[in-house]
């Protein structure tokens, strides 16, 4: 579980996050949504420890990040997996080497043991025959799956995903969403996903945090989001023509 309390973060005098307080539960897919410029990425980078908040605290299963010393912070980071928006795979390494990378860095396992684990996670993300390929030789959807495999290979306690299905076709996006949800439940990890894709919200939004101009505007789950009368949330949800038409049809009793 991750508990965020009164989180403030700004750059060059401009406040981006304005006192966010929320909780992300273990074993659930927690979504951060909001329009572009709402502070989602800054919030996620604060959760990852890449940005230091000016005020407030982030508590990971009882450990407040800012209270930890450098070594403890590093140990905590080793328990985090991250799927970046652009996958961020190391382009000079093969798929197998990319996934094996965290094991090489942080474990003393033998190469055979590492390879066994790598193939186990590659099987888990349905990438059995791509291990010898370079990231440039596989599709965007496959790259995302490699990034997920790399993020979970060390059995992390926390999984962070920054717009994991951006740039993917709707069908592949659903596959990636479902994969993340399955892995979250299977490994019982705390997953936080940064997205503005309403399909993801509908598919996997067990807890949703809506940000607007750096403030936490609303939080709930995927059923509540369609019932809320918060104008900012409804504007966001029904900015999609499809959702607007579905709502209009429901109102007309069709």
């Amino acid at each position: 579980m991750i508990e965020v309390t009164n989180l403030h973060k700004g750059f060059n005098g401009e406040e981006i996050l304005k006192g966010i307080t929320t909780t992300f539960d273990r074993g659930k897919t927690n979504l951060i949504i909001g329009t572009s410029g709402s502070g989602k990425t800054v919030f996620l980078k604060c959760l990852l420890g890449l940005f230091t908040p000016e005020q407030g605290s982030i508590c990971y299963d009882g450990s407040v990040y800012s209270d930890l010393n450098e070594e403890e912070q590093r140990d905590l980071r080793e328990q985090m997996g991250m799927v970046f928006q652009g996958s961020a795979l190391f382009d000079s390494m093969t798929v197998e080497e990319n996934v094996m990378f965290p094991l090489m860095m942080f474990t003393k396992q033998k190469r055979e043991e590492m390879l066994e684990r790598v193939h186990e996670v590659l099987d888990r993300v349905h990438l059995e025959n791509a291990e010898k390929k370079l990231p440039s030789e596989i599709s965007g959807g496959m790259q995302k799956r490699v990034a997920i495999a790399r993020a979970i290979v060390t059995r992390p306690k926390y999984l962070f995903c920054d717009e994991p299905n951006s740039g993917l076709d709707p069908r592949t996006a659903i596959v990636i969403d479902n994969l993340i949800k399955e892995i979250t439940e299977e490994y019982n990890i705390t997953t936080v996903i940064n997205t503005h894709d309403m399909n993801s919200v509908m598919e996997i939004g067990e807890k949703i945090v809506f940000l607007k101009n750096g403030n936490l505007e609303w939080e709930g789950d995927k059923t509540q989001i369609f019932k809320t009368d918060n104008k900012a949330v409804t504007d966001f949800v029904y900015s999609s023509n499809l959702f607007k038409k579905v709502r209009d049809a429901q109102l007309k009793g069709l």
């Binding site: 980071r77 652009g86 190391f90 990378f101 942080f106």
Partner: protein, 245 residues
Amino acid sequence: MFYLDDIGRYFLMLKGVFSRMTKGSVIRNLIFKEIDDLIIGSLGITVFLAFFIGAVVAIQTALNLTNPLIPKKLIAFASRQSVILEFAPTFISVIMAGKVGSFITSSIGTMRVTEQIDALEVMGINSLNYLVFPKIIAMLTYPFVIAIAMFTGICGAYIAGVYGGFISSSEFLTGLREEFIPYHLVYAFIKTFLYSFLLATIPSFHGYYMKGGALEVGKASTSAFVWTTVSIIISNYILTQLLLS
């Protein structure tokens, strides 16, 4: 103030490079890869450049020695001194600032743009140590490149001088050995070691701290070349003052 800020950040980067070392087995493989990319990959162009620089120096010296009282062996002497003292260490390093420097800046810059550096940081890896330290160690073998450049440059001078009909082979070999001061080699290699450090770190700095996209990677590569060259030229002046005067 802007430059002072950059200089400060450069030294902070160096501090970061030498702290929190990456696992030995990983860094060893990276060092070998960097030696292959930065050093072995530069041998061809270095040999080519040094050979023709040596040859041109010999021809220029020969054409300017019009006084019959000046012995022809001076062609070999002047070529040796020029190649060992300046052309091999400094001129080749300026060329390397373009070749190796732009390679380092663009590779690290692309990693920044594509969030690969963020990925390293999230994993709890000291990205500065992981990316820059192997390059510094690999560049410690750079003096071997310069030694080869010195040898090839003198070979070029010999071939151009002797086969161009400016000087006989025996005169050239006599001139080559005349008043040879071994300390000049020490001076040249001290310079080369400093240049190797500048060649590894200044382009890394520009790549690591760049912001933006593909266009900015190009700009960072250009500014890395400019600043590495400026640093090499200034340090050449200072070292020459300190070591030779």
